[in-house]
Amino acid sequence: MTLSHDEAESALRAVAEAEARSLRAYGYQQASPHLLLWGCLWILGYGMTEFWPHQWTAIWSAVVAVGLVASFGLGMRKKPPKEFYSRFAAIALTAFAFIFAVIAIMAPRSGNQIGALIPLTVAVGYALLGIWRGPRFYISAAVIAALTLGGYFFLPDHFNLWMAALGGGSLVLVGFWLSKV
């Protein structure tokens, strides 16, 4: 059997497609438990903020600390490469620096503004990831952003409850969706 130029080209195309699909499925598989985790934490954090709005600093400090430790633990489950530690620290520092810089410059006047800024920042992160690593990340980002903006503009009196139920709930659903590839 002779292998022609066209057959070789078609085989290389099949190789590239299979590699890309595999990498995409791997990315979804890796992200899924993190989304489930943060979905549950959003439900808890926004839910508690709805009932104890004046305690939001203590609530979110605890929620973010638990989330970072748990995310780090999830990343450690698979004997990560040595770059994992520096990348994890760099991602956390970049996100914190960006959010604090925006808060310092824009000086938000309400808790809802801060409560919307953080999920929108997360959504931008997932949208960028989706452009490179798979459309499901991009779709998830669009859903998170749309729900955040919807709650912020149309339900300001119960924004935290909205974000707990629909924002956190969506993250949990997206986590399950990514696990089903």
Binding site: M1, L3, H5, A11, R21, S22, Y26
Partner: protein
């Protein structure tokens, strides 16, 4: 190289090898995920995995995730080398350096 590796040359097996090569080194792909990536039936995938395992190109591990049985597949070092050689062979054809006929399976030891 004048002749392509006939084990990898089969289209479904080529996709399986490419899917496993796409993962970070040492990572395993669950059977169900591999089925979705390769887009084939369970029976077909199982048969091709056996051929690749017999050639020493992949490692199939069966264990339990809690109470659920699971099968995971990974590329061996031999398989990674064989796949890279095969892809280089295809690229040579595109570059006009090789004119090929498919060979008998190359037998290499498992890792």
């Amino acid at each position: 190289m004048e002749q392509p590796d006939a084990v990898i040359h089969q289209p479904v097996r080529l996709k399986i090898m490419a899917a496993l090569k796409g993962l970070p080194p040492g990572e395993k792909l669950a059977f169900v995920r591999l089925k979705a990536v390769v887009q084939t039936t369970e029976g077909n995938l199982g048969a091709h995995l056996t051929s690749l395992e017999n050639a020493g190109y992949i490692k199939v591990e069966k264990d339990f995730d809690g109470k659920k049985p699971r099968t995971r597949v990974s590329l061996t070092k031999t398989g990674r080398r064989a796949f890279e050689t095969y892809v280089a062979f295809l690229r040579d054809i595109l570059d006009g350096q090789t004119n090929a006929t498919a060979a008998e399976p190359v037998t290499m030891g498992a890792d």
